[in-house]
Amino acid sequence: MSDRSEIGQRFQELRGEQVAYAIDRQERTFLPPAEHCPLCPTRPGGEPTEIPFEAFEIAVFDNRFPAFQAPHGAAEVVVYTDSHTGSFGTLSPARASELMWVWRHRYAELGAREDVAYVLIFENRGVEVGVTLHHPHGQIYAYPFLPPVPALELAADARLGGCAPCELLRRELVDGRRGVYENDSIVVYVPYAARWAYEAHAVLRAHRPSLLECEPGELDALADALQRLVRGYDALFERPFPYVMAVHQAPTDGRARGHVHVELYPPLRTAEKLKYLAGSEQGAGTFISDTLPEDSAATLRRAIADGA
């Protein structure tokens, strides 16, 4: 029997990283049928759900099976709509913009906590990336430490002599071959060294450390860009396109550095074939890609036009 005092984080010395243990998550609900969806509203006479109202717009609640919880962080579920069907891409523009404000609110509130060093807002879409509930939703993890990826982004700032996302955006705009969508405030591109075949980054044109510094119009523009991108994904192979969507913002541990950008990692490399993290990726940490980012971007541009 495990000693529950050992649950939490352990430092993996060889990787120099924290590993979080959340053994209760083994019991979490796994792909229930729609009539038992815990993220649907609670209908009169129906089965109680996580949200005890007949209708709602957006709801956020503490994850019943948290990877992190106070006083060592937090784990929340963000339900985008009370409709069981649809996706982030099919939300109305007004609802998608509202979601940006919810993200901003959660970043502000969780980031202000003493036990939170980094707030990651993300969405896993599709069973290919481990989704256990189909109802449109995302999640928020508030880490009690700075995780490796944002730490690497801070290191990139130091290596490039300033804000790395600002510099990379400048390079992408000069190059021009990997851009897939732009509006007044956001540029979406397949990064120069994409690890996934159809990886894309949506980056604020203006330097904004977090969603808190964004103008209202920039939040609307971010919602627009992300929705167009994911609808383009769905149009690409004419099927629901799995992805991980991660909102990167400034750490909340007192460092003011960061630049809002949203990274999407889709595991599909063709309509039927998944990219697996295998020997090189897991054993050495080096991604092997069989698709050039410039070619992916050209394909994705056409798909976004088709999905508009």
Partner: protein, 53 residues
């Protein structure tokens, strides 16, 4: 599949706050977990129209 037991509210600590163009209402579930419900502040007819989006 694991049964989802009741997640009622505890009937306390309900309050609404404004945050930019949204209004949020905080609740506490009977198991102590927080629940926040968000709505965009706008006229009722627009809210009803968007509710199902």
């Amino acid at each position: 599949m694991e049964e989802h037991t009741s997640h009622k509210l505890d009937g306390k600590d309900k309050r609404s706050e404004h945050f930019g163009p949204i209004v949020l209402t905080r609740h506490v579930k009977d198991d102590g977990r927080a629940l926040i419900v968000y709505e965009r502040t706008r006229d009722k007819s627009a809210a009803a129209k968007d509710r199902r989006s």
